[in-house]
Symmetry: C2
């Protein structure tokens, strides 16, 4: 399968991520991308495609205009304040406070964030747009007849809601791709989120819609990021009722349990009969991931790639998380290779 990618992602690499009460080198770093590319090369799967320019019209169907304007201007507003560090929020619209966008950048950051670890830098907006373009181009390849494609997105996207960034995410690449499939003529699209963390952003974006089925396997939010979404009782609302499926799982979950949940999700997707499947591909389910708690082995990734292939639908893989950097290439490419070989 073709891999869409470009180098613009390097422009987003914050000096600090807020983790454990300190600013540390971000877990989500450019090296992740390099190691996946290396593995694609070593597996002779290096069929690389440059992305087309980003079509903002589709993006505007996924994200609020105010949020897009914020992301595009946040760094310049921050730079005007002459702060020493990169843009991090310090105050938020908590319970019973006003949900109104303030004028000052300190307030805007808090208004539009769902997590605080993720700094906005001078290169964040251009990198986020390039990442969305990678997903969009992957979607076009599949809409155009390719059986599958891999969008090597960085930064990732699945935590970005219609008006919220955080969790290393700014634009929701998978949601933008799903919308692209619909705009290209699909009637129904399934998003299968296999990242360790719940895809709260994707769920939020499609929660009241029946044209996108969202299914997510993830760490139980009571104990795992993003903590405030991803519960089993979140099943959609309005027209979207029944089109959101969450599989929260506890610490130590191994492939047997996880694979059963995947089988169930795949059965739901089969029944939905989508015209395309978008896989939010995070490989932080791996046993040695530094910020996650599942126990998948590297070979399990091949197995579940083959399981996804059995859906026998046009499929776009969109890169999300995975922070065990040494193994991220192996685990990611195992999914793609397992899918292709099936």
């Amino acid at each position: 399968m073709k891999t869409v990618l470009n180098e613009v992602h390097r422009q987003h690499f914050p000096k600090g991520e807020l983790y454990g009460g300190e600013l540390v080198v971000p877990f989500e770093r450019p090296e992740r991308w390099d190691i996946i590319v290396e593995q694609l090369n070593s597996m002779e799967m290096a069929d690389f495609v440059d992305p087309d320019p980003l079509d903002m019209e589709t993006v505007q169907k996924i994200h609020d205009a105010d949020f897009l304007r914020f992301l595009a201007t946040a760094w310049d507003m921050w730079a005007e304040e002459n702060y020493a560090g990169e843009a991090l929020p310090t105050v938020i619209p908590a319970r019973r406070m006003q949900q109104r966008e303030p004028d000052h950048i300190d307030g805007k950051l808090g208004y539009f964030c769902m997590a605080i670890e993720t700094a906005i830098t001078s290169g964040t907006w251009v990198a986020a747009c390039a990442s969305a373009a990678v997903a969009q181009t992957g979607q076009r390849l599949v809409s155009g007849g390719e059986a599958s494609a891999f969008a090597l997105c960085r930064p990732p996207g699945h935590h970005a809601a219609r008006d919220l960034y955080g969790g290393y995410c700014f634009l929701n690449n998978a949601a933008i791709a799903a919308q692209g499939f619909l705009d290209a003529g699909a009637s129904r699209v399934a998003v299968l989120d296999v990242d360790f963390h719940h895809g709260n952003g994707t769920q939020d974006i499609f929660y009241d819609r029946s044209d996108v089925l969202f299914a997510s396997l993830h760490g139980d939010p009571r104990t795992a990021f993003p903590h405030f979404l991803g519960f089993a009782d979140e099943t959609g609302k309005g027209e979207g009722e029944g089109f959101n499926v969450n599989y929260p799982m506890p610490s130590g979950t191994d492939f047997q349990t996880w694979g059963n949940a995947l089988d169930d999700a795949c059965a739901r997707i089969d029944a939905y009969a989508p015209d395309a499947v978008v896989v939010s591909l995070g490989v932080d389910t791996y046993k040695d991931d530094p910020i996650s708690f599942f126990r998948l082995e590297s070979e399990n990734f091949s197995t579940y790639g083959a399981r996804i292939a059995k859906l026998a639908r046009p499929t776009l893989f969109v890169m999300e998380g995975g922070y065990a950097v040494e193994e991220i290439g192996t685990n990611t490419v195992n999914v793609l290779e397992g899918f292709e070989r099936a």
Copy 2:
């Protein structure tokens, strides 16, 4: 007037405050307390009183039980994770996410915070309780017949809502004092908040009550912390309708404008005829405050102390903010001295 104080506040002094995208030495630091004590000594106003032990029953009328349990146990839960830094939140229950308290400390911190700059340390809970005890003892002195008293609280309290901490605040000392006045027989209490920042916590706590009038003079939340509360259209709700008065003012506001707002607030308090007045005394309205934008001169603090004295009500001053450390003693004691001399 008597000043209630003790040394326990020193146990809360985080290594880092999240400010401008960096962890910096907190603006809210023990030295603030030292310099106020020094100035009280040099003005021969050193009539110092130790606080009584904290009466948790009154505190429980102000803060939710879950929140108090969280504050009491947060550091121990954090320490179990072996993180390198002090306890700072990284993820929050943003718009459309679940308002449910997670099991993991990372989620709990986000659930109970309204601002992110404020670290919880090993000594935070004991210091917060001691600070509340200082306010409570001050209230008892005034309830017992003293015309006025000064509660030299640290950490401050007015940003702490019934179930939210942040903005350097954990327990709402002024609200606990106001409740103490009511419990001691007062029918009505006015809280006059002259800190530069809106007292969002105090407003939240008494928003649906008519037995406490809350009046706050502060930087316009569109451009000033806490950004999401403190608008002029917040006037109370239910039984509390009409008992909340906000005076948001723009950058550069000088004493002429500020003093007019104070006159208006005092007229409201006169009309309310409270049995006691609690003054949330922050002196970050000072022209050289590093994180505020009003333009009061040191002599203005004496003038407004005298204005508050004209209310001719039993009055408790509760220390809140003020970060121009060199002048915090002068400005704070000017208010008290202006009040006494009037």
